[in-house]
């Protein structure tokens, strides 16, 4: 299997899907699913192969290179599996909507572009794919029109800023070294001066920081996640945003190299320390802002930002344990956040687009699979033991504590508690409590929605109980980036100070669960009662009003609301406003009178003459 084939299948399939859609929608749907699954198969076949190939010469006399290594493969498999699942999910979600052909085209195009990014072996093709991804993402975010247009606009503006920063970095690299081949660069760059390295890291850090929504550059994310069509939000949150992490890994540990990155700066102000602190801020503030959200997708979106902070914290320290934690968390995050978005999408699909947490409730009885998805998703998000999130977070915390960064560890740990509060609210308000009368006749979600949810739920438990499966690959990544190898077993990790063994946690939870379940069964049988047979101080309970959702953490809201605002967003909006006003002012010089224009010309001439005079005088 060659990489060109992969790219051809990915891009060609996307456009073919569009044209097939003009013939029949059934054909288009099945072809889209087949195409997405074919990509998974091709990438799975690439496992363990290292290759590098120029597929086009003469792009401004630069070769465009595709290459495969274990890091690329790891990201690619996650992208393709997630892409396939979300295409399957879209089948019923997008039914009876307009512009579906276009939606599938863009969906597959984003997928293809992401694969291109991770497989590209030089920065110029990296940049091309990056731009394809940004633009098609923007179009998909704006798919729903209305407020989605503004969200898409915000995204694309920030994305362009990022791309321009990357372009500057690339140009500088090209003028310095005369090549943009990543493999060649990685041998050349490490020996340059500290200042230049810092410049490179910062300029690329802005690009990837915007994509990964690191704290001061995060403002595009909540709106974009909330307004994008839900199956696409799963991709957007799961992998697309995490291209930033891939980028950070690329620039920090491949191009610049671990040895050079970790010794930039003095004392507290080293590059990776600053990055880690940014990561810590990215964890704490968004997680607490998430508590205030009443929109299910926005709540998850803020968590998407917050979890990105954990990955940054993991990779910033540049130890093999931390790298493993950061990369593993990227995968885990992709699994559980897309699972959560899919559960929300299933709810939206059945309730007619309702995602307001205050008006749902009791849906567990109607949509059990969506509930299981939601439950396992939030368990992973919190990092409850036996779900995948626990292992990666454990690795990150351990790195922080052993590296003597207790304050960063505190930020990461307190983020977990904020997470619990907000995601329990999420789960409770949607699934638990009283079922409102209007949702009495709601249907189960269709099979094409249940399948991805079940697959991802299974993955959460599998990677939580047997984390060795992905950790083996991640360990190979660690080694390929020049770090020490970890002692990975199938059920955990063994290191010098403290081991993790998930299988014995699993065993004891299982044993005690069974014992207590037997005890429970031994007690007198508890008949199930109706939701209206409920304690209400002796009164018959009022229908539809007996669910505690609005202002779920009211005492805390009263305390914290003034402090928990997205001040950065407010600041950016202010800058945007100022710029607009400035431009409005400047526009006034075009008065439309010829006399004025003549006066401008005369003044300009006078100015030139003045300069000329001055020049000649001195």
């Amino acid at each position: 299997m060659s990489l060109e084939l992969l790219i051809i299948v990915a891009f060609g399939g996307a456009f073919l899907t569009y044209f097939l859609g003009k013939i029949s929608s059934k054909l288009r749907n099945s072809f889209a699913v087949l195409n997405a699954l074919a990509l998974v198969v091709i990438i799975a076949c690439l496992y363990g192969q290292t290759m590098e190939k120029s597929f086009y010469f003469g792009f401004f006399s630069l070769p465009l290179i595709l290459r495969n290594n274990v890091l690329s493969w790891f990201f690619a498999i996650a992208i393709s599996v997630l892409g396939a699942l979300s295409v399957i999910f879209s089948l019923s979600y997008m039914r009876n909507r307009e512009r579906t052909d276009f939606y599938y085209l863009m969906m597959l195009l984003v997928n293809a572009a992401m694969l291109g990014i991770v497989f590209s072996g030089d920065l110029i093709s990296f940049f091309i794919f990056w731009e394809i991804m940004s633009w098609s993402t923007c179009i998909l975010i704006s798919y729903n029109r209305g407020p989605a247009l503004a969200a898409g606009m915000k995204y694309i503006i920030m994305s362009i800023i990022g791309s321009m920063a990357m372009l500057v970095g690339m140009l500088s690299l090209y003028t310095t070294y005369g090549t943009l081949n990543i493999a060649t660069l990685s041998t050349l760059v490490a020996s340059s001066s500290h200042g230049y390295l810092l410049f490179l890291l910062i300029i690329f850090g802005i690009t990837f920081g915007i994509k990964n929504a690191v704290m001061p550059l995060h403002t595009w994310l909540p709106d974009a996640y909330a307004e994008a069509p839900s199956p696409f939000t799963a991709v957007l949150s799961g992998m697309l945003t995490r291209m930033g992490i891939y980028g950070f890994l690329l620039i920090m540990y491949v191009i610049v190299g671990a040895g050079a990155t970790l010794h930039l700066g003095h004392g507290f102000f080293t590059f990776n320390n600053i990055l880690a602190w940014l990561g810590a801020i990215t964890i704490v503030i968004p997680t607490f802002i998430a508590m205030l959200q009443n929109d299910a997708k926005k709540l998850l979106a803020w968590h998407g930002i917050g979890q990105g902070g954990y990955m940054i914290l993991g990779i910033a320290f540049g130890t093999s344990l931390g790298m493993a934690g950061g990369i593993f968390h990227t995968l885990n995050h992709a699994i559980y956040i897309s699972l959560l978005f899919m559960s929300v999408a299933a709810i939206q699909y059945r309730t007619g687009g309702v995602r307001d947490l205050n008006s749902l409730g009791g849906l567990i009885k109607k949509m059990p699979i969506a509930f299981i998805g939601g439950l396992l998703g939030i368990c992973g998000l919190i990092g409850i033991p036996l779900t995948n999130g626990f292992v990666s977070k454990w690795l990150i915390y351990k790195t922080l504590i052993l590296n003597g960064a207790p304050f960063l560890a505190f930020a990461a740990l307190i983020g977990t508690w904020g997470t619990i509060l907000s995601v329990y609210k999420f789960l409770h308000n949607i699934f638990l409590g009283q079922l409102p009368e209007k949702y009495k006749n709601i249907q189960k979600s269709p099979f094409s929605m249940r399948l991805p949810i079940i697959v991802l739920s299974f993955a959460i438990l599998l990677f939580g109980i047997l984390p060795g499966i992905p950790l083996k690959v991640i360990n190979a990544i660690d080694v390929s980036l020049g770090f020490k190898s970890l002692n990975v077993t199938l059920w955990g990790i063994a290191s010098d100070s403290g081991t993790l063994n998930t299988i014995n946690i699993f065993a004891v939870v299982l044993v005690f669960g069974v014992i207590i379940w037997l005890l429970f069964k031994a007690g007198r049988k508890a008949p199930k009662v109706d939701q209206y047979d409920n304690y209400a101080a002796g009164a018959a309970i009022p229908k539809g009003k007996y669910h505690y959702t609005v202002d779920y953490y009211n005492p805390f809201y009263r305390m914290a609301t003034p402090y928990l605002k997205d001040f950065v967003d407010v600041f950016y909006m202010k800058i945007a406003k100022w710029t607009q006003n400035l431009c409005n002012t400047v526009r006034r010089i075009y008065t439309g009178y010829v006399g004025n224009y003549v006066m401008y010309i005369v003044l300009f001439m006078a100015f030139l003459i003045l300069i000329q005079l001055k020049w000649s005088v001195f």
Binding site: D530, Y532, D533, Y535, A537, G538, A539, A540
Partner: protein, 185 residues
């Protein structure tokens, strides 16, 4: 705890448990409730009998109705009684639940509470002193021992009778019947 007690514990732990752990839900309608605070606090200390107040009927097994029951509050009494888990015991406190007491000819006060829910014992008096509660508790122990505190069984067996009496007052009730409405004889 003498040896006899110990033997009983081994023979029928459930019955002994019900005896010595009476979790009470108080129904505070009338003046009777004023006698409850001294009885559960330091002066008389009901806790030494294992009698403690609990918050919801789901957690309780003794229902103490303290004071007159009006037609409106009877609804809540029935609802609370039906939400208690079996086995459950009911005690009427004061003379009003027994026969109406001083409200014997009031158009809006229930005269005989045991026509609407089964009562295992009465504490007569207007008002009874807190000591009377403890006498009632010890009597209830004897009744539980002899399996005579069987109000909840009676309720199940004669549910149609009780439900009919309840519905005679209110018309249709807001909640569905607790048992299938057949006399089990």
């Amino acid at each position: 705890m003498d040896r006899n007690q110990l033997k009983k514990w081994f023979e029928s732990p459930a019955k002994m448990g019900h005896k010595y752990s009476l979790h009470v839900v108080y129904f505070c309608t009338g003046c009777g409730i004023i006698e409850i605070p001294p009885s559960i606090t330091a002066r008389w200390d009901a806790e030494r009998f294992g009698v403690i107040p609990v918050a919801t009927p789901r957690q309780a097994n003794l229902f103490l109705i303290t004071g007159y029951v009006s037609v409106k509050t009877l609804k809540a009494v029935i609802r609370t009684y039906e939400q208690m888990p079996e086995p459950k015991f009911t005690v009427g406190f004061g003379s009003c639940p027994i026969n109406g007491g001083m409200y014997w000819d009031s158009y809006n006060t229930i005269k005989h509470l045991d026509k609407y829910i089964p009562i295992d014992g009465w504490i007569a008096g207007c008002m009874p002193r807190p000591e009377a509660i403890f006498i009632a508790v010890t009597h209830l122990w004897t009744l539980i021992d002899k399996e005579m505190a069987d109000g909840y069984k009676k309720y199940k067996e004669n549910y149609r009778y009780y439900r009919a009496n309840q519905e005679q007052l209110y018309g249709k009730l807001d909640w569905p019947p607790l048992f299938s409405e057949e006399d089990k004889k």
